[in-house]
Symmetry: C2
Subunit: 324 residues, 2 copies
């Protein structure tokens, strides 16, 4: 199977939303009047972002999911994406399920594959995604204001829990592990929630490197600080897991670390004025996505962790850094 056969067999489908899709030097998009184009790119490398043993179907899902998560954080509606793929060899047994997983998630979000590139090389998946957002309505990192509430969508920490089990540093009952593994291998981008939060949230970011690290981007861009209630945050790890786990020799500090700096969550952290609490709940219901208020934004810069009694706690959680 040559390069062009490979593209034809696994990655070419008729364009319905794009003016021109796969098969020319460029794809052509025609954004609707009044819309801005939101663009994000993510590169996934074997051994860094996924294990070599991962099911290719799930990897196809994840490769697009992490990009859709960036669109979600901007409140953009997915339109299209490009796929650049370096492969050690043209292996149909890998390409077929990979493309199925990729395109299944793409279809679920009406996000069209419009172009790409394939080459021989160490496995590397680079997707660039395009969404549209009404002019001036994108959710940015820079809009948080002192007094805003701080929220997180879904659950946090489960992906990291699974990774630690893979690494052998933790063990877990099979059903707990499988649930956490699904979070790691097939994250759910919060695309509907991001769009529902337009005009409601003041700032948003997607959580890929851990809550505290990514929240730090909002604080830095907005020139503010935040207080996070750890007694609430701690329950963000899928709670039925946690109940199962109380028998394990697992300190609450370890739980908190999974939640606060676990990474690979692809949830949204966002801020909204206290006056918008009802609107946030409406967005949550509309998007069928749980949101939890975990703290607030403060004028004083810095990130402050407090316990159930409001007492300051030490903060020694690192964010993921590819070169640290």
């Amino acid at each position: 199977m040559g390069e062009f056969d490979l593209i034809r067999r696994f990655f070419t489908r008729p364009a319905t939303r794009a003016v021109l899709g796969v098969g020319d030097d460029c794809a052509l998009l025609q954004p609707a009047a009044g819309m801005q184009l939101a663009i994000s790119t993510d590169m996934l490398v074997e051994g860094r972002h996924f294990l070599s043993t991962v099911d290719p179907f799930k990897l196809g899902h994840k490769a697009l999911a992490v990009n859709l998560s960036d669109l979600a954080a901007c409140g953009a509606r997915p339109l299209a994406f490009t796929l650049a793929l370096a492969l050690p060899r043209a292996d149909e047994a890998w390409l077929e399920p990979f493309s199925r997983g990729l395109l299944a998630l793409a279809d679920a979000h009406g996000c069209e594959l419009v172009g790409g590139d394939t080459t021989q090389g160490p496995l590397n998946i680079c997707i660039t995604v395009f969404g549209e957002v009404p002019r001036g309505q994108a959710l940015l990192r820079s809009g948080a204001r002192a007094g805003d509430d701080l929220y997180v969508s879904g659950t946090l920490g489960d992906a990291r829990l699974a990774l630690e089990v893979f690494r052998g540093t933790l063990s877990a009952p099979a059903e707990v592990f499988e649930q956490a593994r699904a979070r790691m291998e097939q994250p759910t981008p919060r695309v509907a929630l991001g769009q529902a939060l337009r005009g409601v949230a003041t700032a948003a970011v997607d959580i890929s490197d851990g809550l505290l690290g990514d929240l730090g981007h909002i604080l830095q861009a907005s020139g503010v600080g935040a207080r996070v209630d750890t007694s609430v945050a701690m329950n963000l790890i899928a709670s039925n897991n946690r109940a199962t786990w109380t028998s394990a020799a697992f300190s609450s500090e370890k739980w908190l670390e999974l939640v606060l700096s676990g990474g690979d969550d692809y949830e949204l952290a966002f801020t909204a004025p206290a006056s918008a609490r009802a609107a946030v709940q409406v967005a949550s219901v509309q998007a069928q996505t749980r949101v939890t208020r975990i703290g607030c934004i403060e004028a004083e810069t810095g990130l402050h962790l407090v316990d159930a009694q409001g007492q300051a706690m030490p903060h020694r959680y690192a964010s993921f850094d590819h070169f640290a």
Copy 2:
């Protein structure tokens, strides 16, 4: 140096054309009214697309040049690009010249770096580029018609000549090698020519995998054939090189192979009606880019090579295929 320092130091500059540049979950572009967005992505892998010994400044240039070449083939004006980069380590001595070479070419074309991703991994450079083209005016591969002239811009084969010298299968006098090496390491995307050919050319493609292979894309998409005059094509290799080289034990068939299937040229192959010959010359002068008429489009499908006497020649030139 951590991931975010690296981005800040080498890849962050204020956005002037984009609504929002590097530093949020997404970049935001606002295409002008009536414009379509042309999008292309190319992934460069060490050992496949460049040698590990290449000067990082030149590699930065080439990584963007091969993408701008795709915009050129569509007649699009460059606007912006994203850069995803996998690096074995955060090496300033590499990053500094790489980013300089990349951004120098970007500045020369008014093409703004609006976002990206960095990760640890085997060296891999994935750029996605965005251009604009008036609605309906993009040059496509599918517009060639029987009777059209067939043209090529610039020179062909020199990049492959340099590669063969690197591989030790050919040798060359130093000044010839350096000239060919510059073509291999710092190709010139024909951006001005592509735009000047809007409304003149009927089809275009950029030549990355060799003239015959990429011309094949036009023929397939347009449902036509072509005749190529090899006595003209043969002179497309930088002619002063060729004069120097007549002393080398180099068959004319070898020269022809470099020209017809060398690859890595990043010139444009395009078609235009015979009635547009003057307009093609005007475009060539406007863009200060030489164009050569090398044959014509025929209704009968297939690619036919002819010699100076118009006699059919055997065609046994392969196109580059990453998985063949």
